[in-house]
């Protein structure tokens, strides 16, 4: 019985891994390299803890969707857009928010399964007694569950 479930998880690990490559490319692209968020400007690295300056594309996109003063946190006092405003372009979109939230939830589940299955592989390789293996397994999957709940809550409520 144990062997059969291990084989399924082994297979799933490869499937989730392959899947993650595509999810990560999308995630990295929209969060770091897309023209709206790519800010290779002098203000990107700063010790001052000020929000980065976004390119005009981001400014215009946020202005087009969320009027200044309508919601707190979308604009800085000088009228420039904030990182929250840029992220909400997707997560508070009237039409596509559901799709982006779905993408993020799928990403969350796949990444957690892949990461914690891999972690358990490593742990059970080095922990030799059965009791220790069980404790490590229980603790790590509990942490994964907590992260799943936090992640789901954050993504679902963001922008609502």
């Amino acid at each position: 019985m144990a062997n059969k479930s291990k084989a399924i998880n082994w297979f799933l690990h490869r499937i989730t891994g392959t899947f993650l490559v595509f999810l990560l490319i999308t995630h990295f692209w929209v969060q770091h390299y897309d023209s709206q968020v790519a800010s290779i400007s002098k203000t990107v690295v700063t010790q001052e803890q000020t929000t980065p300056e976004y390119p005009n594309e981001a400014q215009e996109a946020v202005e087009a969707r969320f009027a200044p003063g309508e919601v707190d946190g979308y604009y800085n006092e000088d009228g420039s857009v904030t990182p929250y405003g840029v992220v909400m372009l997707r997560l508070a979109d009237p039409v596509y928010a559901v799709l982006w939230k779905g993408f993020n939830i799928l990403f969350l589940i796949v990444a957690l399964h892949h990461g914690f299955y891999g972690l358990n592989n490593v742990l059970t390789d080095y922990i030799r007694n059965d009791m220790g293996k069980m404790v490590a397994k229980t603790l790590s999957w509990s942490l994964a569950l907590v992260l799943l709940v936090i992640g789901l809550y954050s993504v679902i409520t963001a922008g609502w």
Binding site: V21, L24, I40, K42, V87, G118, L119, V122, I150
Partner: protein
């Protein structure tokens, strides 16, 4: 899970090493495949650690003020270095993982080594192109402005 890409060693070499190396660590034969496997585990562990911190930090998504403060903090130089290291870990883990999947599902092939070095080159390109913004921002901050 481990994938050995080094050519099969001569038989007498093996017996000699097993007999002389008594410590647990030295019994591992660190060649290309072994190194790839160890780096895969280490980068995997690092990525799980990052995943935990990342999801924990995303609680800030529920509050505009907290989120903006978090992003502002992430623009300190130290996080730019972290960003680059993250890309290195992700690129390596993804490409070596792809290699493992290809070997597991398609089987061994005489082109084993070619696959290894091709994916190695792809990884280097991903790191160079994807990491350019982070490195440029750091160089700009410390040397150009």
């Amino acid at each position: 899970m481990a994938v050995e890409t080094a050519e099969r060693p001569e038989a007498h070499e093996v017996t000699q090493e097993v007999q002389t190396d008594t410590s647990r660590f030295q019994r591992y034969r660190v060649r290309t495949g072994m190194f790839a496997w160890m780096a895969h585990r280490l980068s995997g562990l690092a990525l799980v650690g990052y995943l935990v911190v990342h999801i924990w930090g995303l609680r800030a998504l529920t509050s505009p003020e907290a989120f903006n403060a978090l992003i502002a903090k992430y623009h300190a130089p130290i996080y730019k270095v972290g960003e680059f290291l993250l890309l290195v870990a992700v690129a390596y883990h993804a490409m070596n993982g792809l290699r493992i999947v290809l070997i597991d599902f398609l089987g061994w092939s005489p082109n084993q080594k070619k696959l290894f070095w091709t994916l190695g080159a792809v990884t280097a390109v991903i790191i160079a192109v994807g990491g350019y913004p982070s490195i440029y921002a750091l160089v700009d901050h410390y040397f150009l402005s």
